[in-house]
């Protein structure tokens, strides 16, 4: 099962796997959609309450008329059916708050969110895994203790508090980094200048978002490296006369990556939640802040759309995780 034949088989297997998982996506998405819809129905108040409230009140006739226009006067069951029908044709409905179709509003926000989350995950992985390896190699020494203290902080600090403190320290006091936004709207940068401008704006939100995950990755890496140090193949690698760095990285870390991939996949959904807080605090024009606004405006359609797209992203991320896992571990074949 090796050579070119093996690789071809592998490609076919991966293809079948992705296909099968995609087939499973449909019922999963339907279930999520149903649960979300009825959960949000249970919340008191609707978009018309908010609209008329913002306008300083309205007569019952106008409220009635608006409800009719938005289809809110129909039974919950009817509303659900209509919603499902719409979603099936990739129409996520109309946002009352933003006065436009939901789908383009969300699509516009996705890149900013993905950029923030992807960067935060990568930073957390690189720093966390490095910390973990260092503390496993020098366990019990001072460096291990320092890293342990940092990761306990990372677990314990509330996300919003950390973000606010970073703003106070690095934006307001030291004035090193901007406190909000994704780019400087007045300068109108293009090309590389734009890229560096965005990177500059990303520093604080990425740090805030990644600290918790960094702590998790650091702990997982440490414990799985320590377990792997006791394995026979590590002793055998040493008996081959290999350099400790090669033993640790090529033989040790390569095996320790497996649990880290699993944890990363599991944490992606949680990170979406964290990004709501961070995007709101840093006025980051992503999906998280959009969700926050949608909740405030009782913009049911928009909120449902965001939840729908987010769950889709999580499902796709999990499929990717499984594929990465099987690429890293030859004992796992995709089924």
């Amino acid at each position: 099962m090796s050579g070119s034949g093996g690789r071809l088989n592998g490609a076919i297997n991966t293809g079948i796997f992705v296909l099968r998982r995609l087939v499973h996506v449909l019922p999963t998405m339907f279930l999520i959609l149903t649960v979300n819809f009825f959960l949000l129905q249970m919340a008191p108040g609707d978009a018309v309450d908010v609209l008329t409230g913002e306008a300083g009140g309205a007569s019952p006739e106008i409220v009635e008329m608006l409800r009719k226009e938005f289809g809110l006067d129909q039974s919950t069951g009817m509303q659900f059916l209509r919603y499902v029908q719409n979603v099936a044709t990739f129409n996520l409905g109309y946002s009352v708050g933003y006065n436009g179709h939901v789908a383009p509003i969300i699509l516009e926000r996705i890149p900013a969110s993905l950029l923030l989350m992807f960067t935060a995950i990568v930073v957390a992985l690189i720093v966390g895994v490095t910390f973990g390896v260092i503390s496993a190699v020098w366990r019990g020494r001072w460096i291990d203790n320092v890293i342990n203290v940092i990761s306990i902080w990372g677990f314990a600090l509330p996300l919003f508090w950390l973000a606010l403190m970073l703003i106070v320290a690095f934006s307001l006091t030291l004035r090193w980094f901007p406190a909000s936004g994704m780019y400087n709207v007045y300068q109108g940068h293009t090309g590389w200048a734009f890229v560096t401008d965005v990177a500059y704006h990303m520093v604080l939100p990425v740090i805030s978002l990644s600290v918790y995950y960094l702590a998790i990755f650091s702990r997982i890496t440490r414990s799985s490296m320590i377990e792997i140090f006791g394995q026979d193949y590590m002793r055998f690698a040493k008996a081959k006369g290999l350099h400790p760095a090669r033993i640790t990285l090529r033989h040790g870390l390569r095996n320790a990556l497996l649990p880290i991939v699993t944890i990363t996949g599991l944490q992606l959904g949680a990170m979406l939640g964290g990004s709501v807080v961070i995007e709101t605090i840093f006025a980051w024009p992503g999906m998280g802040r959009l969700a926050f606004d949608a909740i405030f405006r009782r913009d049911l359609n928009l909120l449902l759309g965001i939840l729908f797209v987010s769950s889709f992203l999580v499902i796709i991320a999990n499929i990717l995780t499984d594929m990465i896992y099987s690429a890293l571990d030859p004992r796992i074949t995709l089924k």
């Binding site: 099962m1 026979d232 055998f236 006369g241 095996n255 571990d329 030859p330």
Partner: protein, 604 residues
């Protein structure tokens, strides 16, 4: 072979620091290894033989290990005093090592070819492309079929024996002058063991290596070693040429070790099972050791297994059209009389454990019936199943893993009594003390935790727990395989004694032919899920008819250096796989009766 020592160890001392105390493992060991010879370090677990090997390679982490000694001279340099960087140039290059468990020695996420190539890159300054080509040559050298193709496979696609070959290829890649082999065949089946021993010996001759062979098995020593050092309690008790020591062991400890090795054929002419001689009384005449006839042949069979099949996995489904399943047990039939021991022998993967587990219903039988005292227990559940488990109990291979580390052994033994609501707490306690006495342990041990006991004592505890419900049948799955020879002898003697006293029947599952010869009345040989031969013990051992049985017998090491090489005829082939495509039906099998009760499967 010259007399010049290549490795000269003088007064080696190793201790392990634990909780502020220094616990000595090796106390002043001296030996030398000559160019091109095989020297065996022999002893039971804890004698310091493995610590010695690892100290020579400087693989022991210091601390907790503390290594001292006059010297360990290798090619003019003292290994005990070289820097770590200098040791790295020696390890894997001038001195190499292979370990006991081939399943865990190789890195699971690295291609086997690359794991060998690493040595060439590290020690011979080769580029990766050249090193990978050399790695294929090495795989070929250790006789792995289709080496070029297999080099890019990962370890999990290789069997245990093949993985040990890969490890050997890695170890000898840089043409070291010393190979240290730490129990390299202990985890392998006998036929595979014979192949690996043969391989090590022929490579040792071709490459003119010296081999330091560490083992607990006197049979293996007799097979392979030119000279031997017997170790006990961290010291050498006797050393010399293998022939001389086997012919005339001077020390009592050496004599005990040699006599404790079960010898195939030791039972010729005796009809009943026989105890091992008690320690220190090696010369006990066989008549005193022979057990009385415990088999109640005229009664109804205690258990009758008819056409039992156990299959795992492989349901076909929407996207799983090409399902396959493991036919672990296929169409197996046998019966056991009250007071009788039937041994189920064969190599790993032959289905002997699956059969045992199906009888206590830890595996669900796919087909067939299991009649316990005439009642089919193959499909029962609930209360019936619980009642059945009072009659049939099981003992496993690893006594440590089968005892809850946080439960006192008294509570562990009482647990079945409580679960089956047979006794209240107080009378359970009395019963526990009785049971402990029955397996030769002291009553005050009831309150201790499993880690306070040795391996042999833990297995006695497991036997006591199995006896708590007064079963008629005990399924013993490799129950003495993990024990040191002298302990093994004691536990076997105890089991025989219990059979005599309580009229127990055993289904004794083992790959250890020599122990099987001692304990069993009848033997069934399994191969690829099927019984290929079954019959009275004397018939199977004295007149094996099926080619597989003959091969199995031939592979057992003989603890007699003068008969070395008799197991050379073992052909190089792997146990085939019992994985079958979905819907596979095994061919109809026909058995010959070659002697009364002795059945052999017809070839085909």
């Amino acid at each position: 072979m010259t007399q010049e020592p290549i490795l000269d160890v003088a007064d080696l001392r190793i201790a392990f620091r634990s909780a502020g105390k220094s616990i000595p493992a090796v106390r002043g060991l001296s030996f030398n290894l000559r160019r091109g010879e095989i020297l065996a370090l022999v002893g039971e677990s804890g004698c310091g033989k493995s610590a010695t090997a690892q100290a020579v390679m400087r693989l022991l982490p210091e601390p907790p290990a503390e290594i001292a000694g006059t010297h360990a001279l290798f090619e003019g340099r003292d290994l005990l005093r070289l820097s770590e960087a200098e040791m790295r140039n020696i390890r894997g290059n001038r001195i190499s090592m292979i370990f006991q468990d081939p399943l865990s020695t190789l890195n699971p996420v690295m291609k086997v070819g690359d794991q060998i190539a690493e040595v060439f890159v590290r020690h011979k300054g080769m580029g990766w492309d050249a090193a990978r080509k050399e790695a294929v040559r090495m795989l070929d050298l250790v006789r792995i079929p289709e080496a070029a193709r297999r080099a890019s496979d990962y370890p999990h696609l290789f069997s245990g024996g093949m993985r040990q070959r890969v490890a050997i290829a890695t170890a000898i890649a840089a043409r070291p002058s010393v190979l240290i082999a730490d129990e390299p065949t202990t985890a392998l089946d006998v036929t595979i063991q014979a192949q690996i021993l043969e391989l090590i010996r022929s490579l040792q001759r071709e490459e003119e290596m010296a081999v330091l062979f560490i083992t607990h098995d006197m049979g293996v020593v007799a097979e392979i070693a030119d000279r031997m050092v017997v170790m006990n309690g961290g010291q050498a008790v006797e050393s010399g040429t293998t022939e001389a020591i086997f012919a005339d062991p001077r020390e009592a400890y050496t004599r005990t070790l040699i006599s404790a090795v079960p010898r195939l054929g030791a039972m010729n002419g005796f009809g009943q099972p026989m105890r091992f001689p008690p320690p220190g009384r090696i010369d006990t005449p066989p008549s005193e050791l022979l057990m009385p006839d415990t088999v109640r042949a005229d009664e109804r069979p205690l258990i009758e297994v008819r056409n039992l099949s156990v299959r795992f996995g492989g349901r076909a489904g929407l996207f799983r059209a090409t399902g396959s399943s493991v036919h672990a047990v296929e169409n197996v039939s046998f019966s056991i009389q009250p007071g009788e021991t039937l041994a189920l022998v064969g190599e790993s993967g032959c289905g002997k454990s699956s059969t045992g587990r199906a009888i206590v219903r830890l595996n669900e039988p796919t087909r067939g019936s299991i009649l316990l005292e005439g009642r089919d227990i193959a499909g029962i559940r609930g209360e019936d199943l619980k009642r059945m488990r009072r009659r049939v109990q099981m003992i496993f291979q690893d006594p440590f893993a089968s005892l809850d580390p946080r439960m006192s052994v008294g509570a562990a033994i009482a647990e079945p009594l409580v679960v089956h609501r047979l006794l209240d707490r107080k009378s359970a306690r009395t019963r526990v003390l009785e049971l402990l006495a029955q397996v030769g342990l002291k009553p005050e041990m009831a309150d201790r935790l499993p880690h306070e006991f040795s391996g042999g004592q833990r297995q006695r505890i497991c036997v006591a727990r199995a006896l708590a419900l007064e079963p008629s049948l005990i399924v013993a799955d490799e129950s003495v395989s993990a024990l040191d020879v002298s302990i093994k002898a004691q536990v076997v003697n105890m089991m025989l004694e219990l059979q005599r006293k309580l009229g127990l029947s055993y289904l004794f599952i083992s790959h250890d032919m020599a122990v099987v010869e001692r304990v069993s009345h009848r033997v069934a040989v399994m191969y690829l899920g099927e019984i290929v031969e079954i019959g009275p013990r004397a018939e199977i051992f004295g007149n094996p008819r099926h080619p597989y049985t003959q091969r199995l017998m031939a592979a057992v090491p003989i603890p007699d250096p003068s008969r070395r090489g008799e197991l050379r005829s073992v052909p190089l082939n792997e146990l085939r796989s019992p994985v079958r495509p979905h819907g596979y039906e095994p061919p109809e099998r026909v058995y010959h009766e070659v002697a009364p009760g002795h059945l052999v499967m017809k070839a085909g």
